[in-house]
Amino acid sequence: MAEKGAGVAPGDRCAIGISFGNSYSSIACTIDDSPVVIANEDGDRQIPTLLSYVDGEEYTGNQAKALLVRNPKNTVVAFKDFLGQDFKSIDPTHCHAASHPEDKNGSICFTIQDKPEGEASTVTVSEISTRYLRRLVQSASDYIGKTVTSAVVAVPTNFGEKQREALIKAAQEADLEVLQLINEPIASVLAYDARPEATLEDKIIVVADLGGTRSDVAVVASRGGLYTLLATAHDYEYAGAQLDKVLMDHFAKEFMKKNANVDPRENARSLAKLKAESEATKKALSIGTNANFSVESLAEGIDFQMTINRLRYETIARKVFEGFNRLVEGVIKKARLDVLDIDEVILSGGTSHTPRIASNLRSIFPATTTVLAPSTSPSALNPSELQARGAALQASLIQEYESEDIDQSTHPAVTTVKHISNAIGVLTLSEDGETFTPVIAPETAVPARRTIHVDAPKEGGTGAQAQGERVEGG
């Protein structure tokens, strides 16, 4: 684990939760122990992860995103995953229509004109992250009315050790103490489990985090409030950006039907407009059954507007949607489980708003499986907010501890624990003889304690006691 420096004294802390994505980020705090997602000065709770510079002025969030049309070269996007990586292992695809990542002695940087005048600067991805995090912290501080000093940040499960170190360092540079990095799917589970109406149950959960540039799925065993990852899968093909592309191609073709030989995808500016409006249309289709696509001067000064209905969208996006189903089925198999073993499916990430994706997933699970998405469950939380909420909850849980204490408590000597492979239980009588009733579910960390009340037999059993074998812990 990385050096966290001296840290902030628990009494001086003001801690928040951060979901730091490649596409969007969110910040949340807790008020009276319940999480609140904070809107920035633009009123956005999903804050695009971008920085853009015009005349030395720094823009972020949706303001920066709007600048992709006329200022792409000085706009940095989709940089989060680059943190702590070397140039040879990054995928620059999503930076194509913005500032391109470069290799500077193995580390990654962007060349941008970030000052009013003079030469363009070469800024490392670490510095970009620091600047962006500073903006997030500022928004949070403005909302809370107190300087935010610390945060719990949610990261993908495959965020490597170097990436974690780099993120902690970038935060430190932004005067932000990272209390803990937690895995994104666990943050989402915690967001649901911390609801006042939630009951503590042993269950197997699939968390499908469908984002903008990636989709990550995890199988989590939840046992007595302790969470264990059983399997994960990551996909960089099927995610929100791919759905944007489906719509971009659709609208470009429609445009070309009226304007032969003018392909809006071939001009950088037109492409940027096409992309921005396609994403907006896509989001609108999550709520309405029709959405409007309208761009002034899409290409060669020609305005373009048309409507698309949801069914049409679902047809052209079918392949991507089916990809999500296969991804989820795959990770369940990887965990050596069956869809019948899954008690709960949590859909998280912006793309999870899409009704068809949720209903497709609903269809591969038995009716007994709860599928938590806005369109399948009225009690679902906003999938875009889960990770920030979970991180905020964790922040409020641990902010009173010394950072040394947190570090000691989260290291493998504490977290690596024996988990039973098969259920332990008692035999009870039923119509067809003796029936096994599990008391402790498989994949439960030991030692564990569970209480079960079982009737005593009618005869021959005064004071009968059932007892599982003890498995020595760690």
Partner: protein, 444 residues
């Protein structure tokens, strides 16, 4: 857990000799546990950490050891080997994607149709990281992005289940040629053909496909195998080899013509493929020693059966003959015996009749000897009355009594003695109720 589950079913009864402490009875043993990492998140983890640590501080050694023990959930991408890239392949034009080997482009030549979706995604990612044109441009290279487009095309095909099947249908590099007769004769017959059918099995709609097996396979297995393959239901199709249909609206006739031509070509190729498979099966089964052996065994079994049947028939016939003879003999003997019996009884009857006649003569003679119990000359009426009574007594007694009476009378000459015998006989018969009082009074 905060709340306890309640189970309404009762526990089984304990054995009567159960004594709480020593008789702990585990129902099953517990499978070995796995080292996993619990997520250091949430209120319940805080409690766990408190328990685990007891204010203890762990050393760096503890950490490293614990980390090594934990089962890895995230796969180390670095450890995957990579296939060398053929320089010729890197020169490919993306527009020629139809003729490109998508598996080779992604470095999956070894796996082909066996590659999982996960493998394809990983392979794709690896290639993107290596060949992304923006990265090359950033590093000052002015290479074109043709190969990158090849990668994208390969992934598009292989990640689309429909397109992938179309490509797999014509992926000749995944084919395994049937062995020549010479190769098969070298003793590798089963291994070589197994490989052929394993590769061919990828086209089967029905999975899993029965295995070719080896010289130890049973007749059922071999029959099952050939039955399956002679009725093979294949998803193989040939649209991947279609000729391009013009995309413009101008030449509709030309378009329709091309479509028809393609449809016919597909049909023809499919038919050819079916024939190919059938021929291959014929060839394989002709050389299949197992089939020959099973046939010989079947023949031997058939002969054995025939032989056994004949023997059984012969035996049955013989048995029937013996039985018949025995029956005839028994019947004859019975008949002879019956005849002698008949004769014997006839003789006996005659003897008895004669004896009876003789005895009756004795009876009658006795009264004559006693002069019909008359003092002087017996009157005819007296004679008649005495003889009638003799007749009456005779009628009341059977042959044996007649004989007994005769033996008593035999040799007697004195009238009183004779009379005495008769009167006691009459008395006996009156006592026995065979004669009424006063009957045969002439003899009494």
């Amino acid at each position: 857990m905060a709340t306890a589950t309640t189970v309404s079913r009762a526990l089984p009864s304990l054995p009567s000799d159960w004594s709480a402490e020593k008789d702990f009875k585990p129902v099953g043993s517990i499978t070995a546990s796995t080292q996993r990492t619990i997520e250091p998140v949430g209120p319940h983890f805080l409690a766990h950490a408190r328990r685990a640590r007891h204010k203890r501080t762990f050393s760096e050694d503890d950490r490293i050891q614990a980390q090594e023990r934990a089962q890895k959930i995230e796969k180390d991408e670095e450890s995957e080997e990579s296939e060398p890239e053929d320089p010729m392949m890197l020169q490919r034009e993306a527009k020629d994607w139809k003729s490109q080997d998508h598996y080779q482009v992604l470095g999956l030549s070894k796996y082909r149709w066996k590659a999982t979706e996960d493998q394809i995604k990983r392979a794709h990612r690896k290639k993107v990281l290596k060949h992304h044109p923006d990265k090359k441009a950033a590093q000052g290279s002015t290479e074109d992005d043709n190969f990158f487009k090849c990668i994208q095309k390969a992934t598009e095909v292989l990640l689309d289940p429909v397109k992938r099947r179309q490509f797999d249908s014509v992926d000749e590099k995944a084919d395994v040629d049937p062995p020549t007769k010479k190769e098969a004769a070298k003793g590798n017959y089963y291994k070589l053909w197994s490989r052929v059918f394993k590769s061919e099995a990828r086209f089967s709609k029905q999975q899993p496909v029965p295995l070719f097996g080896d010289e130890k396979s049973t007749k059922e297995e071999v029959d099952g195998f050939y039955n399956f393959w002679y009725n093979f239901d294949s998803w193989r199709s040939f649209e991947y080899l279609d000729e391009d249909v013009p995309d413009d609206n101008e030449n509709r006739d030309q378009k329709r013509h091309m479509e028809r031509k393609n449809a016919n070509a597909r049909k023809k190729k499919k038919a050819e493929d079916n024939t190919r498979l059938r021929k291959m099966l014929d060839e394989c089964s002709t050389g299949d020693e197992r089939i020959k052996r099973f046939r010989q065994e079947a023949n031997a079994a058939k002969n054995k059966k025939k032989f056994e049947k004949e023997a059984a028939e012969k035996k049955a016939k013989e048995e029937a003959r013996l039985k018949k003879e025995a029956e005839e003999k028994a019947a004859k003997e019975a008949e002879e015996k019956a005849k002698t019996d008949r004769e014997a009884s006839k003789k006996a009857k005659e003897a008895a009749k004669n004896a009876l006649k003789k005895n009756k003569r004795v009876l009658r003679g006795s009264v004559k000897d006693a002069n019909y119990f008359a003092g002087g000359d017996a009157s005819p009426a007296q004679i008649d009355a005495v003889l009638n009574d003799v007749e009456l007594v005779q009628g009341k007694i059977d042959a044996d009594e007649v004989a007994a009476l005769a033996s008593k009378l035999n040799g007697l000459t004195v009238a009183d003695e004779i009379k005495g015998v008769w009167s006691s006989e009459v008395k006996r018969l009156v006592d026995a109720g065979k004669l009424k009082e006063g009957e045969a009074k002439n003899l009494a």
